[in-house]
Symmetry: C2
């Protein structure tokens, strides 16, 4: 069985107010072409299909069209789940009709225990869930209240869920899991995980790869770079598009999809890169270099998007300059502009912290630090996590 | 061809903060039973399926289940359109899959010109649109810019749309139109139209029945009472549930659906009433009557919902009384409480105006009156209408 693995489309996302929809449509076009060229038996979308619980109408229309092109126009099955950015209830709308054309979409934990059965493979579609979802599910299942109370982390919840999924294993078939969590290798890892801002909400970061070792292959979403994959069979496809400067900075930054073949010969994985239409270029130079024609004429000016950090910036020398306008004249679209203030003026540096790049928890943490000069205690951190978790739930 | 005509479900609506979802589910159950008993060839839902552009997740789940029960569990075709309360783009999601099981849902003007063809009937599904939608549509059609500029009202827009729909008429079939507008009889009418708060937005109130006379039958939504139907073949089904006190006050207040048969013998219409689970009871009595056991024990206390107006109320006599609590003890759920202040204290009466029962335009109008002592001029009214129109568009 040959499948295309992608995830974290985040349709409707913006980068500092710039819509990424055109870039996402460009990536989609390539994904569909790859799927057709490879004659895959299905496209797996491992969560965070939309960027938010209530995507804007343009995002809804765009996704609808993409899914139609795959599933109705080209008759390619879809195996999809919701991620932490999606609203499980909203995304669930219409799925009963979509099932008829092999568009399988799970958004609720209770749906994860019935696999999609192909001739050779059981595909388990386990959407993002949090410990509270697990407690509600197991309460409905009649689990003992004392046992339910033990479900305090995603780690214990996942243990139960995987154990129940394994009860459905057909030993004559391969077992594929599609899910949406942060999974780390068993050993402490040096990988830099470029996950979502909300990655820590709900204790997401506590799952380790050994919990998933009984599956032949695991297709994950949530972490946006494939280099975060814990091992050879527990994989992140990464997002098809670069979503922020941090991602654009990563050296080995190729975005793409995996073509995964599971057959009698074993498991084969091939990476297929996607070519951005408008790339995100990160520059960190001082003012005179940035304004030097010999430098900027070598850049893809007036085509790609630029995230520029001006090094050794001396605000007092540029009081009369509209810095952004000057750079836009030379580069075109500047989606982010930062300053590394010259040492002598460094006192003012903290005004440049970009709050959009912090997780909600980090924001509270830094604010607390600024006011009290202390870090949050462990119980305080837990409290903050619980609150943001609840906020996320309310939106869904 | 036998069809069930319903409209204005407004799933997700609340009445002064009280959810109507249970009542809507109760009405739906009866609608489905009627459809099955009558063995209809389809259920027509003539717009305002949801109450708002972004319904809450519970409303999305509830509607999804209702539509599944009709179309998938009972294999009954659905002929539906979006109304002014729905988001055309959001509601359009998934419709390509739904078509496969004869669930036809039009939300965009451009979709209205291709009828659903049955053996005997052409069903034209014309969703709510405003003059700007028409201008955009006819621009795409290559219409001359001068002619487009003439589309300034829904009246002129509808003239064009109907004339284009008629070009698709098959003379050997009956022609049924499903739409969502305020349509009045040609002559000035004495009918009290209990329409939506936004009924005047977009110049909705300017259509007359003669524009629709070439259809054999017109199934409308938008006005919530069937008694507003312009004539015998241009009909409102009314909403299945009472949404406000004004509706509950109407004497001949039966809510229900129409069973419409179009065949060689002609057109037959039969009204089927729906029984509320929790009714909305309007009481207007003075304080002593309301507190008299002989009076309130004759009411469906602790079962139905009450909207109570206390007549001849003298605030000075009740300074120590928690009026609402006292009434709740006797009646149960009070969804609205109003006061008719005793003449001597009437100066304070205007604090009791319930802003929720006014349209946005009326609110501005009254506010302007309060501040300036004058009514809005015609150009000012137009300006206000344009602004709210734009606000509505932005939400969709």
């Amino acid at each position: 069985m040959k499948l295309l693995h992608t995830a974290d489309w985040h349709i409707g996302r913006t980068l500092n107010g710039y819509s990424l929809l055109d870039e996402q449509k460009n990536a989609f076009k390539q994904i569909l072409q790859i799927a057709k060229a490879e004659k895959v038996a299905g496209i797996v979308i491992a969560g965070d299909i939309y960027d938010r619980a209530v995507p804007n109408p343009e995002a809804v229309t765009a996704l609808d069209k993409m899914l139609q092109e795959i599933n109705l126009d080209n008759k390619i099955p879809i195996y999809a789940i919701s991620g932490n950015h999606d609203s499980a209830k909203r995304l669930n709308y219409g799925r009963a009709w979509m099932e008829h054309t092999n568009f399988h979409l799970n958004t609720l934990l209770k749906e994860a225990f019935t696999p999609v059965e192909t001739a050779t493979t059981q595909i388990f579609l386990l959407p993002f869930f949090d410990p509270l979802d697990a407690r509600v599910y197991y309460k409905h299942q009649g689990m003992d209240i004392d046992k339910i109370k033990e479900i305090t982390s995603i780690g214990t919840a996942m243990q139960l869920v995987i154990s129940d999924i394994k009860k459905r294993f057909n030993p004559n078939k391969r077992h594929l899991l599609v899910s949406h969590f942060a999974v780390t290798p068993n050993q402490e890892s040096e990988l830099e995980l470029t996950s979502e801002t909300t990655s820590k909400v709900g204790g997401l970061a506590t799952l380790t790869s050994d919990q998933f070792e009984d599956f032949d292959y695991v297709m994950l979403g949530h972490i946006h770079t494939r280099f975060a994959s814990p091992n050879d069979t527990i994989r992140y496809s990464g997002s098809p598009v670069k979503f922020n400067i941090k991602e654009a900075r990563i050296k080995n930054k190729g975005k793409g999809v995996d073509i995964v073949t599971l057959d009698d010969q074993g498991i084969k994985r091939e990476f297929k890169p996607l070519v951005p239409k408008t790339d995100l270029v990160v520059l960190e130079e001082n003012w005179s270099t940035l304004c030097d024609p010999d430098f900027y004429k070598q850049q893809p000016v007036n085509h790609d998007w630029f995230a520029i950090t001006i090094k050794d910036f001396e605000p007092s020398e540029h009081v009369q300059t509209n810095v952004r306008a000057e750079l836009q004249k030379r580069y075109g679209t500047i989606v982010e502009l930062d300053y590394q203030i010259n040492h002598a003026e460094q006192l003012h540096q903290n005004i440049n912290t970009n709050i959009n790049q912090l997780s909600p928890e980090e924001t509270v943490d830094q604010f607390f630090d600024t006011i009290t000069g202390k870090k949050l205690s462990l119980p305080q951190q837990k409290l903050v996590e619980t609150i943001f978790n609840e906020v996320e739930r309310q939106k869904k």
